[in-house]
C-alpha cells in the first residue's frame, strides 16, 4: 500500500468513528417517552416512511421539481456507487473492463447533476439566501469525488489525487451537512414513529 492509501484509511476511520458517535448518541437517547395513547402503529408506518412517503408521486418536493428530483437521485446513486468503488480500489480489486464505461457514465451523470445543483444554489437568490459555505463545499467536494472516480477508472496514474480527494471528503463528512447520510434515516424513522402512533401513516 502507498501513502495515499493509508491516508484514505485514516480518513475513513475518522469518518466512521465520528458518524458512529452520532448514531450512538441517538441510540442512547432512544425514543422520547410519549405518554399519549397511540391510535396507530409505528411499525406499520415505518415501511411507508421509508418507501411510500418517499415516492415522487407523494411528495411535492419531487413532483413539482422533477428535474431537480431526478438530478438529486442521480447524484446520490453516483455517490453511493462511488463509495462502493472506493472500497474496491482500496483493497485493490480490479474492475471488469466491460463495466468501466457504464460505471464512468453513472459517475459523470452524477457529477453533472451535482454541478447543476451547485449552479442552481449559486444562481437562484432564494437558494443563496438559504445557503452557507458548508452547502457549497459539500456539493463541490462530492461532485469532484465523482469526477475523480470516473477518471481513475481509465487513468490509474491519477490514484494519488483520487485518494487525497476521497480522504478530504471522508474527513469533511462528519463536520457539515453531509452527515445527513445518517440523519436522513433517523429523520425518516422519527417521522414514521410520530405519524404511526397517531394513525396518520400509512394513509388510508
Amino acid at each position: 500500500m502507498d501513502w495515499y492509501h493509508w491516508m484514505a484509511i485514516a480518513a475513513l476511520l475518522f469518518c466512521l468513528t465520528s458518524l458512529s458517535l452520532h448514531l450512538l448518541r441517538l441510540w442512547r437517547l432512544g425514543n422520547h417517552h410519549d405518554f399519549s395513547t397511540p391510535t396507530g402503529k409505528p411499525s406499520a408506518a415505518m415501511p411507508y416512511a421509508f418507501v411510500g412517503a418517499m415516492s415522487p408521486t407523494r411528495k411535492e418536493s419531487a413532483y413539482l421539481h422533477l428535474p431537480t428530483y431526478v438530478g438529486g437521485l442521480l447524484y446520490h446513486i453516483a455517490t453511493f456507487l462511488g463509495i462502493a468503488l472506493f472500497f474496491l480500489f482500496l483493497v485493490g480489486i480490479e474492475i471488469f473492463q466491460w463495466l468501466m464505461w457504464p460505471l464512468a457514465l453513472i459517475m459523470i451523470m452524477g457529477a453533472v447533476s451535482g454541478a447543476a445543483i451547485l449552479v442552481k444554489r449559486m444562481v437562484k437568490p432564494q437558494m443563496r439566501a438559504l445557503s452557507n459555505p458548508d452547502d457549497y463545499i459539500s456539493n463541490l467536494i462530492v461532485t469532484l469525488f465523482q469526477l475523480a472516480t470516473a477518471a481513475v477508472l481509465f487513468w490509474p496514474q491519477l490514484f494519488p489525487v483520487y485518494f487525497v480527494l476521497t480522504a478530504l471528503l471522508l474527513l469533511y463528512i462528519p463536520l457539515g451537512k453531509l452527515k445527513h447520510a445518517i440523519y436522513f434515516f433517523a429523520a425518516r424513522y422519527q417521522l414514521g414513529y410520530f405519524f404511526g402512533r397517531r394513525n396518520v401513516w400509512p394513509p388510508r
Binding site: H22, R25, L26, L29, G30, N31, H32, D34, F35, S36, T37, T39, G40, A49, A53, K59, E60, S61, A62, L64, H65, T68, G72, K124, P125, Q126, M127, A129, L130, S131, N132, P133, D134, D135, I137, L175, G176, K177, K179, H180, Y183, F184, A186, A187, R188, Y189, Q190, L191, F194, F195, R198, N199, V200, P203, R204
Partner: protein, 432 residues
C-alpha cells in the same frame, strides 16, 4: 433598547442543549437546504420570497443549535452558518416562527429528507417563550385561560345564561321538554368540552351537539368549572402553562367522575389535549379521550342516530383542520359522516393529510399584529373553496370556522360555514 438578558438567552438555549433528545438532534442535523419545501407552504405560495421558505425557519433554530451544541459550530461558525443568539436573530425568530407559520405541518410531509419542520418551529417557540417573548396578543389569550378558566374570559354567569337559553332552544327544536344540556352532573359517561368561541360567538354548534347526544340517548355533561378544550400555550410554546391548562381538564374529569372526555370540534384543542397533554403533565390519562367526530361516527355505525341526507341538499365540501387530520390521524371519519349526512359531498383539492391550512392555525387568529399576512395566505383557501363549487363548507374546528368566516367575507365566497355537528344535527331523524 432590547431586554434580551444573558439569563433569558440561557433559558432559551437550554431547549436546544440540555433538554435536547434524539428527535430534536435528528431534526437539527437533517436539513440540507434544498429549499424544495417552499411550494408546500401557504406563506411562500401567497408571498413568494426567501423569507417564507420553511427551511429558513428550520435554519433559524438549527443555526443556533450548531453554534452552541456542535464542535464545528463552536470552532468555525461561519463554515456552517452557525448563528449567535443575538438580538437580530431573536427578532427574526419572533417574526418568522410566530408570525409566519401556522405549524400546519404540510412542509413536513413533503420535505425531501423528512425534517419535522413544524416540530422545529415549536421548539423555536419554546425558546422564545422561555425568554418571555411570546407576542402579547397570544400571551393574553393564554393568560385569559389561566385566569378565568377559558381563553375568551367568559364569566360563569354569561356561560350558564347562554346554556340555559340554548337548552330552551334544544327543547323547542326537539319538541321534547325533557331534552337537557346537563351541567356539572357527576358519574356521566361523557364529559363534553367546548371551544369558548361556541358560547361566545357560535352557540348553535352547542345545541347541535346536544341534539346529537340527546338523539343517541347519551349520558353526558358539560362543566362550568372547566369546559375549555383549547390550549393556546401549545401555540405559545410555554410548556408550564400548557401543563396547567391540561391538568385542569384532567382534574375536572376526576371531579365529575366522568368515563371519558369528548373533545369538541377544535383542531389544536384536540391535539393539545389528546396528544400533547399527557406529555405536558408527564403522565398518561387514566380515562379515554376521543373527538366528537369519532363519537358521532360511532353513533352512526351503531345505529344510535339515524340520518336523512336529503335534509342537507346543498353541495358540501370539507376543510380538514391540520391538527386534527395531519397531526391527529382523524382523516376518514368526517368523510364517512358527511357521506351519511348530505346528498352531495365534494372534496377540495388537495385534501386529507395533504390539505392546505386555512391560515388560522398556529395561534394566528389570536395574533392581530399579523392579520395582514393571515389574510394574504387566506387567498389560497378561498380559491380552493371556489374551485369546488360548494355552497357549504364544513370544518370540524372552531378556529378554522373563524378563519373561514373571515375568508368568506373578504373574498366574497357566498358560502355557509358549518361545523360537522351542525350538519349531523340537521340530518338527524328524530323518533316521535
Amino acid at each position: 433598547m432590547k431586554t434580551y438578558t444573558d439569563e433569558k438567552k440561557a433559558a432559551a438555549l437550554a431547549v436546544l442543549t440540555t433538554q435536547a433528545d434524539a428527535k430534536l438532534i435528528t431534526h437539527m442535523n437533517s436539513c440540507v437546504h434544498c429549499g424544495l419545501c417552499a411550494d408546500s407552504c401557504i406563506y411562500y405560495r401567497a408571498m413568494p420570497g426567501e423569507k417564507y421558505v420553511p427551511a429558513k425557519k428550520v435554519d433559524l433554530v438549527a443555526s443556533i443549535y450548531r453554534r452552541y451544541a456542535t464542535t464545528t459550530g463552536k470552532l468555525f461558525p461561519k463554515l456552517t452558518g452557525a448563528r449567535n443568539l443575538d438580538d437580530a436573530t431573536i427578532d427574526e425568530m419572533i417574526d418568522l416562527l410566530y408570525g409566519a407559520c401556522t405549524m400546519c405541518g404540510r412542509c413536513t410531509i413533503h420535505c425531501s429528507i423528512g425534517v419535522d419542520i413544524s416540530y422545529v418551529v415549536r421548539k423555536g417557540r419554546e425558546m422564545l417563550a422561555n425568554m418571555d417573548l411570546v407576542p402579547a396578543t397570544l400571551q393574553k389569550t393564554v393568560d385569559a385561560a389561566l385566569e378565568t378558566g377559558n381563553n375568551m374570559g367568559i364569566s360563569d354567569q354569561d356561560y350558564t345564561d347562554t346554556l340555559e337559553w340554548l337548552e330552551e332552544d334544544l327543547q323547542m327544536e326537539m319538541e321534547n321538554d325533557n331534552a337537557k344540556i346537563p351541567l356539572n352532573a357527576t358519574g356521566k359517561e361523557i364529559l363534553y368540552t367546548l371551544n369558548p368561541r361556541e358560547p361566545k360567538f357560535f352557540p348553535l354548534s352547542i345545541t347541535a351537539m346536544a341534539k346529537v347526544f340527546e338523539a343517541a340517548g347519551e349520558s353526558w355533561t358539560l362543566s362550568t368549572r372547566m369546559y375549555d378544550v383549547t390550549n393556546y400555550a401549545y401555540y405559545s410554546g410555554h410548556l408550564e402553562q400548557a401543563a396547567i391548562i391540561t391538568q385542569r381538564l384532567v382534574d375536572e374529569v376526576h371531579q365529575l367522575q366522568a368515563g371519558k372526555v369528548v373533545l369538541a370540534e377544535c383542531g389544536h384543542g384536540s391535539r393539545a389535549f389528546r396528544w400533547e397533554g399527557p406529555n405536558y403533565i408527564q403522565q398518561a390519562f387514566p380515562f379515554e379521550t376521543i373527538t366528537s367526530i369519532e363519537l358521532m361516527l360511532q353513533y352512526i355505525r351503531e345505529g344510535r342516530i339515524r340520518l336523512d341526507p336529503s335534509k342537507n341538499k346543498e353541495v358540501v365540501t370539507l376543510h380538514d383542520p391540520c391538527n386534527l387530520v395531519r397531526s391527529g390521524g382523524v382523516v376518514q371519519q368526517q368523510r364517512e359522516i358527511l357521506k351519511a349526512s348530505v346528498l352531495r359531498f365534494v372534496e377540495m383539492n388537495p385534501h386529507g393529510i395533504d390539505n392546505l391550512c386555512c391560515g388560522g392555525g398556529g395561534g394566528q387568529l389570536a395574533m392581530s399584529e399579523y392579520n395582514d399576512r393571515r389574510m394574504s395566505i387566506a387567498r389560497i383557501k378561498a380559491e380552493q373553496i371556489k374551485a369546488t363549487g360548494a355552497t357549504v363548507v364544513v370544518t370540524p374546528c372552531h378556529n378554522c370556522v373563524d378563519q373561514l368566516t373571515q375568508i368568506n367575507v373578504t373574498f366574497k365566497l357566498g358560502v355557509q360555514i358549518k361545523t360537522l355537528a351542525e350538519i349531523v344535527a340537521d340530518a338527524i331523524v328524530l323518533d316521535k
